[in-house]
Symmetry: C2
Subunit: 325 residues, 2 copies
């Protein structure tokens, strides 16, 4: 079907396209009578603006790219949910891009976002990414970028995370309060600064002199987590507490506990988005890493930077988390 255009309306009403354009955009320089007539006809003919043309003209696309290293992570859906709930209301669209944790792909996607005129980019870094040189192109194109969740320390782009170290520390302190004597820390991919930050929080909880034993393992995926925890449990029969830095490693870890009949004897805490974990038996205390509110925050900040008339200073937000038990 040929779409009706502003030109069709103009022709039908024997007025100029510019008049139609003005009427439709509620420009004051149009008589109320004419505006009404135009709007009615537009309605009748199911006119809808050709947004591609609008975009070309305005040099915006109302489209935002979301580059994800690991789309399969448990809290990603809620992040997406949180983002779209904000973007939808403002007429923006969200394009999902998967870097599959490869920096080269990440760089390609950023280029792609620039070439396709995305208005902004949300980026959760690949574990291999150690510097942000490949984001420079976005600066050239004046496309704001927000880093979130998996980031590296820097001062150039806004970033939104939780306080990884502090979350891990609080979780671990909880185990210490519960009188655990040997704590197993289960972390994710060692290449992620997020893992290192959480590791630092974990060790910090033990204090300077350290009468309590701890063991740590790093697992890049669920399977590895299960494997490593199993081994750790065999090596250290006295482990009586476990901290898991994510839902992913938790799954593997609890599977290992379960297999060794230690589900009830090893006290567990976790940083979790709070979905799955609620159905664990026995209940597991956790620091809630809420994807939806992180998504909100990311979207709001990015829109802010996009719609600002002049360059805004980056912010470096660490979101509040709460401990649930």
């Amino acid at each position: 079907m040929k779409r009706t255009t502003i030109k069709d309306l103009a022709q039908a009403l024997q007025v100029n396209v510019s008049t139609v354009s003005r009427a439709l955009n509620n420009h004051p320089d149009v008589s109320d009578a004419l505006r009404e007539k135009i709007k009615q006809l537009a309605e009748a003919l199911h006119y809808t603006p050709n947004l591609t043309a609008v975009y070309l003209q305005s040099r915006k696309t109302k489209t935002i790219g979301l580059i994800l290293a690991e789309i399969g992570q448990f809290f990603i859906p809620s992040v997406i949910q949180g983002i779209t709930s904000i973007l939808d209301a403002k007429g923006y669209k969200l394009v999902i891009l998967a870097s599959n944790d490869k920096q080269s792909k990440e760089a390609d996607l950023i280029k792609m976002c620039c070439y396709t005129q995305m208005d902004g980019i949300m980026l959760s870094l690949s574990s291999a990414t150690k510097n942000l040189d490949h984001l420079a192109i976005a600066n050239e194109y004046d496309i704001p970028i927000i880093l979130f969740d998996k980031i590296i320390e820097q001062r150039k782009y806004s970033s939104i995370t939780i306080n990884d170290a502090s979350c891990a520390e609080k979780c671990t302190s909880y185990l210490l309060q519960q009188q655990c004597k040997h704590i197993l820390g289960v972390f994710g991919n060692k290449d992620l600064s997020l893992s290192i930050n959480r590791l630092n929080g974990f060790t910090k909880a033990f204090g300077i002199k350290n009468p309590i034993a701890f063991t740590t393992v790093f697992a890049a995926n669920i399977q590895e987590a299960k494997q490593l925890v199993q081994e750790a449990l065999q090596t250290h029969a006295d482990i009586d507490g476990m901290f898991c830095m994510s839902d992913e490693v938790l799954i593997g870890a609890t599977s290992a506990l379960h297999a060794q009949q230690k589900l009830l004897t090893i006290r567990t805490v976790c940083i979790s988005d709070g979905q799955l974990i609620n159905y664990h038996v026995p209940p597991i205390a956790y620091m809630k890493h809420d994807g939806a509110s992180m998504g909100h925050a990311v979207a709001i900040q990015l829109l802010h930077e996009i719609e600002a008339t002049e360059k805004v200073e980056p912010i470096f937000l660490q979101m509040d988390t709460k401990f649930v038990q």
Copy 2:
């Protein structure tokens, strides 16, 4: 930064824009020498085509809308992964749209896809959707739609699902083979035909005359599944087998089993995407509902319909699944 355009290149080289356009698009009507010169300059000036302009001109956007009723479902990330892996290679972008299981929102999003010139739509229906009248607008705009996963029976749009009834039947038969005497069937939202189809497969497994007892519950979410299974277990102490139609209900259901110390005594099967379930203790047999390959299939078929020069007949594909134990 002002982006360099083909006009800039033309000016610099004192040739016409159309020549530049031709050179860049490898049109044969350009001398090799000139083409080289143009391409080199383009490279040097970091020229990249303004795709918005290309889209306006071509009346395509290389963008596809994915409308999801429940973005939080476990197999959605792998579906997205599967889709993007195909689309990426073909230069298409994927826009994620959440209907939050509301038909009115679903209708709005479809309109939106039409207005923003999406080249195609992938749609997993809301549980409230009982007819497809609100898709008619996409026909007017000549935008192909593929239904997948949550669909209703129809012959107008291509659809891709698994064979829900048969999957459920096979799972249930497995329980019967294992000599279960009273089987609990745990289903999702009763409004979904997907649930009803799986229910039909479930009951079919018991055959005409039916010496084996069964009980069924329908749960719209994890919490409800837990609750209802708990109640069922209390009412029917003889339940010794359980079929769960999805990972979601499985989580709630096993949590209930666990709480009542029946994890080891009630044999369980499930239709699952195969991620989480691998880490269950004890192991759970399941029919694998692979999100990634479903995503592949959906993307391939949609691209096929988009790029076809003439109208293609819809297909109604039920994907193969395999039983894992």
